[in-house]
Amino acid sequence: MIAATHQHPAYRVGSREFVVAAAEPVTPEVRHLVLMPRDGGPVAPYQAGSHVVVDTAAGRNAYSLTGDGSTPDRYEISVLRCRDGGGSAWIHDELAPGSVVTIEGPRAMFAPRYDQRHALLVAGGIGITPILSHARYLARWGGTAEIIYSYRPGAAAHLNEIRDAGFPVHEATTVARTRELLAERFADQPLGTHAYACGPAAMLETYRELGLAAGWPESRLHLERFQLADLDPGEPFTATVRSTGARVAVAAGTSLLDALSEAGVAVASMCRQGVCGECRVGVASAASLDHRDAVLTPAERDAADSIMCCVSRGTDVEVDL
């Protein structure tokens, strides 16, 4: 991150304390938090679809901001309680109005294309959060959109807000209906439309498959993953640390990230699922690389000069650390 010391404080995106101003359930499983800066100063505006990183007792988690991003005086996020406990359970169980949390960001990894002529917004479950942000942004600046929202009956967060955003909303409560709607809406969008989807891995696969089948080039199919399909443990391999020459054995089922940190080589990480790009390390050489992340583009994979060490593996990998 570039230290922009000359910038106005309204552009601060480093680690900063916020106070929980409100914490309301929006469904039995989803809690909506309003976060105000503890120092009372301004907060940075953000592009639609941005997220903040929340320091929880169980690690750092990224959550999408639900606002339109322009001139905010607060940040709002909606957090689904995940079955595996972890950071989301801490947010649900430990935070109350008045609690102080440390957050970082906002960061944009799912921003609208500046030149889009129209948007097709697709949300599955809690994936509604960045989609709501996109819809509010478009409503604020006079854009047009069409929305598909797929949810389990009774579990839809922000259903009223998305219905009130000012755009047509197509709702689906089954996998089959979601598929049908995607195929139908992909076939009938004006030239220049960009599509944005956030939801479970399986829905995103369907989205990509049907988008390509409808003749949309990849460059129009934007998506944000919040979970990747479960990965197999992989084969054991050896990594060499370039600066010290240290050799690190990476066992099957252990990530390169964990093996490096056990060997005393710390690498920053966040999602640990190959989604966020935080743990990218340079590769000086490798006999082979098995990229299992959702960050690198095909061209970056072919370049074979970096990997996301939380999920990706290889053989005889020399890391540029």
């Binding site: 030149d115 002529r117 009938d188 409808a214 003749g215 129009r220």
Partner: protein, 173 residues
């Protein structure tokens, strides 16, 4: 792919045209084929034949680029379309610019130029864009205001035209 593919050489940004018509992209779901002038007819015919059953196609043939007609044709397409343009360089450049303006991505555009001795020039003085017989780096007379123009060797892909400025602009009078 590869319409106006490269910036070449040495900082000059000039279109590099393929020597053969580009082939039909089979991943499209519908096709808009635009042909200008008689030389484009057979190119468009070949494209139409190759599109065959890949998807519905709309064919627009005309003598010259007409902004209103091209914009209307673009507006009637749906995302998933592939746009293919054949004709003299000036008509092709203006059509590609209109397609980009309508939101077309580079992957959705293909083209073929039947002659390169004409190009669109934007006159910096009267602000009209006209087709003239000229080469990039050469000289042309603006058909609208009669200024003698240097045709700068840089294509604005957004405008689909080259910049022309008064050849005597640097002289003190």
């Amino acid at each position: 792919m590869g319409t106006i593919a490269e910036v070449a050489p040495g900082g000059l940004s000039l279109p590099v045209w393929p020597s053969e018509p580009e082939t039909v992209d089979a991943t499209g779901r519908s096709y808009l084929l635009l042909g200008f002038g008689p030389e484009a007819a057979s190119v468009v015919d070949t494209w139409a034949r190759d599109v065959g059953a890949l998807g519905p196609s709309t064919i627009v043939r005309s003598a010259r680029f007409d902004p209103a007609a091209v914009t209307a044709a673009l507006a009637s397409t749906r995302c998933g379309v592939r746009i293919m343009v054949a004709g003299p360089q000036d008509d092709v450049l203006m059509t590609l610019a209109a397609a980009r303006e309508s939101g077309a991505e580079p992957e959705e555009l293909r083209s073929f130029v039947t002659r390169t001795d004409v190009l669109p020039v934007f006159c910096a003085h009267c602000r009209a864009t006209n087709s003239v017989e000229a080469v990039p780096g050469g000289i042309a007379v603006c058909p609208a205001c009669a200024t003698v123009l240097d045709v700068h060797p840089h294509l604005s892909a957004v405008r689909g035209s080259f910049l022309g400025s008064d050849t005597t602009a640097r002289e003190l009078t």
